[in-house]
């Protein structure tokens, strides 16, 4: 009975809810203010913003807060917007989902074809699309005005500083219907309802034409086509005019699915993007556009419509990269993601009716320490001497000495690190008697040497014990999430299910048994890779690459018993090679970019140990893929340096991927050593 009840009430199951919430009340209950820090607050300032992030990073969650009905739900309940917005000036936000409203169809059915217009007049299709966009957003705007007039909109009105008197003013409708940019299309409309009806009719005509129900666009529509952005400027001015005299009241327009246009319309998709770019380029003082895009899907088409000029970052818009906000840097202080994850989990539990402390999720997963994990391997009750096989490959003298120094109760992690340290020294040609002496100082326990090797050592211990690594603990789950809130929820959901399957109440057996957590985490890892298999933009190809690359990295690490290269869980390529622009570099660059966008790869900043006159970029498999392939999820400096040609062969060749320095394709830079290294060499 417990099993079914708890499984049905899994608070983390609905992963999508964080991404797209169109139910304002539910949104308010689920949204975590923790994500609104520093850069991400820019979304709510009067500036054009492009919000970048991996799939599932929470872009839509943030952008949706700009919408009038969403922020209104918040204000109605709490009398104010989320706390981080305390110092943000009020705004009025409307939105358009370009794919859902069919903006992408323009051009696939040509306006010119079948009419008297010149067939080659390809400018007519973007012009028509621009008109559709203007009128659709006008309909949304009118809906917003109607909302402000309703009882439901009182709180929003108060927050915006708009009086109902100004809104019911008949002249408001007259003003809107007489905007010059409409070319008298709405001249016979004298009420909000009639404006909306006429607007809907126009949108319906466009739709019927695109659906091929009409042979051509009626002349009254063609003759009153509005220019891109002009009506929006009027809408922005109108909102500003009904706001308080002493401050601006900006209009925000959230544009969704911009990045899908070229995929949905192969011939005209980028032209349609240029229509949207034109809105940004206008730098309208009243209207500000907010776009969300996957990490590398922005920037391929920056030209405006009808001209070669481009929209420029910082001048026309700002970029906010959620990855920068949410991903852990080397210095973890100020890392937002753990707090965001904890808060999101708490809110989901509340929604599902679970009561408890805010830290319940942390209590459920418990702490993680290397020794605690290591103790789970080689833990046979009767005889724990089997763990000494972790010293295999070493001479008896060394093995005996390590055993004497560490004692019979030594942790497997201590034994494996000692073994790795010895193997490293042996590879450097140090004699056994010298090593016996060096062991006295327990050099494998030195902080930095140990820290960089713990992850690989744990994997090797699990492997020597003929089992998979056991994953558990709050920190582990946070690391595995890779700064992606959807990945975090998937992990929590699968752990919850794994507990329920064993008839364990996840919130009572605190912390949850490591084995249960590990089952859930492994399942989440598998789901994460399979999730991409059916994704758009060649997900199947990425899946195929990842399922060859992952095992290869694993083999390389397990085979490196001396743990000489603990950072070789990722690879690094020279940026100049990537930007060559030839067929190979373009193919590699595209696959990597998409893999980052779809959260299959993780890109991290790279400061190489050697100076070689060019920048480098490095990539790892997304941390959540680590359990599936049994590779470390924590990042250590110095990835595997590799040539672009080799990566091309990995991705597009048919052969087995040989990862790591044991293979001949390592990219040994012909470089200048860093000064520090130089000094060391000189002193020798």
């Amino acid at each position: 009975m417990t099993k079914n009840k708890e499984r049905i009430r899994n608070p983390f199951r609905e992963l999508l809810t964080t991404e797209l919430l169109e139910d304002p009340v539910l949104y308010r209950r689920m949204f975590s203010e923790s994500i609104l820090v520093g850069e991400s607050l820019q979304v709510f300032r009067p500036v054009n913003v492009v919000l970048l992030g991996q799939q599932g990073a929470g872009k839509s969650m943030i952008l949706n807060l700009a919408l009038y009905h969403v922020i209104s739900a918040w204000i109605s309940k709490n009398n104010k917007p989320p706390t981080p917005l305390d110092h943000i000036e009020p705004f009025f936000g409307i939105s358009i989902n370009l794919a859902r409203v069919g903006f992408h169809i323009f051009g696939r059915r040509s306006i010119s074809k079948g009419t008297l217009f010149d067939f080659s007049d390809s400018g007519r299709d973007p012009a028509a699309a621009a008109d559709f966009l203007n009128h659709f957003l006008f309909y949304e705007f009118l809906n917003g005005i109607r909302f402000l007039l309703s009882d439901e909109g009182v709180s929003l009105r108060d927050w915006m500083g708009v009086s109902s008197k100004q809104l019911v003013d008949r002249s408001l409708v007259e003003r809107m219907s007489s905007w010059e940019s409409w070319y008298d299309y709405y001249s016979d409309c004298h009420s909000l309802d009639s404006l909306m009806t006429k607007c809907k009719e126009r949108l319906s005509v466009w739709r019927r034409f695109l659906n091929t129900n009409l042979t051509e666009v009626p002349s009254d529509i063609l003759e009153t086509q509005s220019e891109i952005g002009l009506p929006l400027h009027e809408m922005g001015k109108l909102i500003d005019s009904i706001g308080p005299k002493n401050r601006r009241l900006p209009l925000f327009v959230v544009v969704d699915q911009y990045e899908a246009l070229p995929e949905l319309n192969l011939t005209h998709g980028t032209k349609l993007q240029r229509v949207v770019n034109t809105l940004i380029k206008a730098r309208d003082p009243y209207v500000f556009y907010k776009l969300g895009a996957r990490t590398y899907d922005w920037g391929t088409e920056l030209r405006v419509w009808g001209a070669e000029s481009r929209i420029e970052v910082q001048r026309d818009y700002v970029i906010i990269n959620l990855t920068d906000v949410l991903m852990r840097r080397e210095d973890s202080s100020g890392w937002v993601f753990p707090e965001l994850a904890r808060d999101v989990a708490y809110k989901r539990m509340l929604k599902e009716g679970y009561r408890g402390e805010k830290n319940k999720i942390k209590d459920m997963l418990g702490p993680w320490f290397p020794n605690r994990e290591a103790a789970l391997y080689f833990n046979e009750e009767k005889d724990n001497s089997r763990k000494w096989i972790l010293l295999r490959g070493l001479a008896d003298t060394l093995r005996i000495r390590v055993r004497e120094l560490c004692g019979d109760e030594a942790s497997p992690i201590d034994i494996r690190l000692a073994g790795a340290w010895l193997l490293q020294r042996l590879q450097k040609g140090v004699a056994v008697p010298t090593l016996v002496k060096e062991l006295e100082d327990f050099p494998w326990r030195k902080r930095w040497w140990k820290k960089e090797r713990v992850e690989v050592a744990l994997l090797q211990i699990a492997s020597y014990d003929n089992q998979k690594r056991i994953y558990f603990g709050w920190d582990t789950v946070i690391y595995l999430s890779g700064g992606n809130i959807t990945a975090f929820l998937l992990l929590c959901s699968e752990i919850w299910d794994a507990a329920a399957k064993r008839d364990v109440d996840p919130l009572r057996a605190l912390p949850l048994e490591a084995g249960i957590q590990s089952n859930g985490i492994n399942r989440a890892s598998e789901t994460w890779s399979l999730r991409d298999r059916n994704e758009i933009s060649a997900g199947r190809k990425r899946y195929e690459v990842i399922t060859r690359l992952g095992p290869s990295i694993h083999d390389s690490l397990i085979g490196d018993a001396a743990i000489s290269n603990p950072g070789h869980t990722g690879f690094s390529i020279r940026e100049s090679d990537l930007l060559k622009g030839d067929e190979k570099s373009a193919a590699v660059e595209q696959l990597i970019s998409k893999a980052v966008s779809y959260a299959m790869f993780e890109e991290r900043s790279h400061h190489p140990k050697v100076r070689e006159g060019t920048k480098r970029r490095k990539w790892y498999l997304h941390p959540l893929l680590s359990p599936q392939f049994q590779i470390p999820h924590k990042r250590v400096k110095e990835p595997f340096y590799v040539q672009l040609d080799v990566v091309y062969d990995w991705f597009f060749g048919q052969k087995r991927i040989d990862f790591g320095p044991r293979h001949k394709h390592r990219d040994v830079p012909n470089t200048v050593q860093t000064p520090k290294r130089k000094r060391k060499l000189t002193s020798k």
């Binding site: 797209l20 409203v101 069919g102 051009g107 739709r207 659906n211 129900n213 899908a260 995929e263 060649a538």
Partner: protein, 333 residues
């Protein structure tokens, strides 16, 4: 709705008789694509036009060589059987303009007002569009849709289609721009493709997602269909008897009736045809009648071993004497 349907032979006997007709279909890598031309070719058959449709060049996996080999083999076999036909070579992701051109330049659709539209191997984005144009245009008086099921060995065990595009309306079937859908209805088949992107787009209707399952397709196939459902990551509460209807995979009329029942006259469903072709046909007819949208995540790569052999051929009279089947009333005696 009144949709006379049956085996092709029955329909030929009862409706076509000696009247002239032509065939519009597809020559593909599937053996069953030849079934209708081979069955109906006779002096009354004035023209056969077969579309040859190629996956885009960036499709992955790239099956183009194997697919072309099988297409060529099917063409040769039709020629060997002395069945004259013309072809138009098309790209899978043809635009609305290009799809409209098919009918304009097709001989088959000009020489007679009775068309057999063979949807057996036509991709959904093609046959739904062609169906719509022919249903709307008065010059097409009689339209019979035909569909040949695979042979006893059914479909390939691996993926049938891969590399999906983002969720998009099928050409000609975009929902109105101002539209609050009541429910999303998914016809379930062997592939979920990127259906999650569709669920994301209609997240606000996700609570009202309904499913049409093909029945009874045999033990193994049932498992595949339920696997597809599982891959959609649905909430447990989404799976209940009110939300799922099992309909025989050939029964177009029953699917239409189910949609009508679920819609309740609101004309506010969103349809996602991921299931068998006859179910997609029913959805297309419902969409035409009620002006609702049909959405799909078009795969770019089709497995050239998609189906094996050929089974019976069904026929559906979707338009007769200029009257669409959905405008014909059932008279109760």
């Amino acid at each position: 709705m009144r949709l006379p349907a049956g085996s092709l032979k029955q329909i030929q006997t009862q409706f076509l008789g000696d009247a002239p007709f032509s065939v519009l279909g597809c020559v593909s890598f599937e053996e069953r694509c030849r079934a209708v031309p081979e069955l109906v070719y006779s002096p009354n058959c004035l023209a056969i036009e077969l579309l040859e449709i190629h996956d885009p060049t960036d499709a992955y996996p790239d099956y183009s060589v194997e697919a072309q080999r099988k297409i060529t083999r099917n063409r040769q076999r039709l020629k060997r059987a002395k069945i004259p036909f013309t072809t138009q070579v098309m790209g899978l992701l043809a635009t609305e303009d290009e799809l409209m051109d098919i009918l304009d330049s097709s001989k088959a659709t000009r020489v007679t007002s009775t068309i057999l539209l063979d949807i057996t191997s036509l991709p959904k984005r093609y046959f739904c569009f062609l169906l719509k144009r022919m249903m709307l245009l008065e010059s097409y008086r009689n339209i019979i849709v035909t569909y040949t099921v695979p042979g006893p060995h059914g479909y390939a065990h691996g993926p049938l289609a891969e590399d999906p595009q983002p969720s998009d309306n099928l050409p000609g079937y975009a929902a109105p721009a101002i539209y609050k859908p009541k429910a999303l209805v998914i016809s379930v088949g062997f592939e979920s493709l990127s259906i999650k992107s569709l669920l994301e787009m209609y997240i606000d209707t996700k609570r009202e997602t309904k499913f049409i399952l093909p029945f009874p397709p045999g033990g193994g196939a049932t498992r595949r269909v339920w696997d597809t459902l599982r891959r959609m990551d649905l909430q447990p509460e989404d799976i209940n008897r009110d939300n799922i209807e099992s309909v025989a995979s050939w029964d177009v009329e029953e699917v239409f009736k189910t949609l009508t029942h679920w819609d309740g006259g609101s004309k506010s469903l969103v349809l996602a045809p991921f299931g068998p072709k006859p179910h997609s046909l029913a959805m297309a007819l419902f969409a035409l009648k009620n002006n609702v949208g049909m959405y799909y995540t078009q795969p770019k790569s089709y497995n050239p071993d998609y189906s094996r052999g050929r089974g019976p051929t069904w026929a559906y009279i979707v338009k007769w004497d200029g009257v669409p089947c959905y405008d014909r009333q059932v008279r109760v005696p």
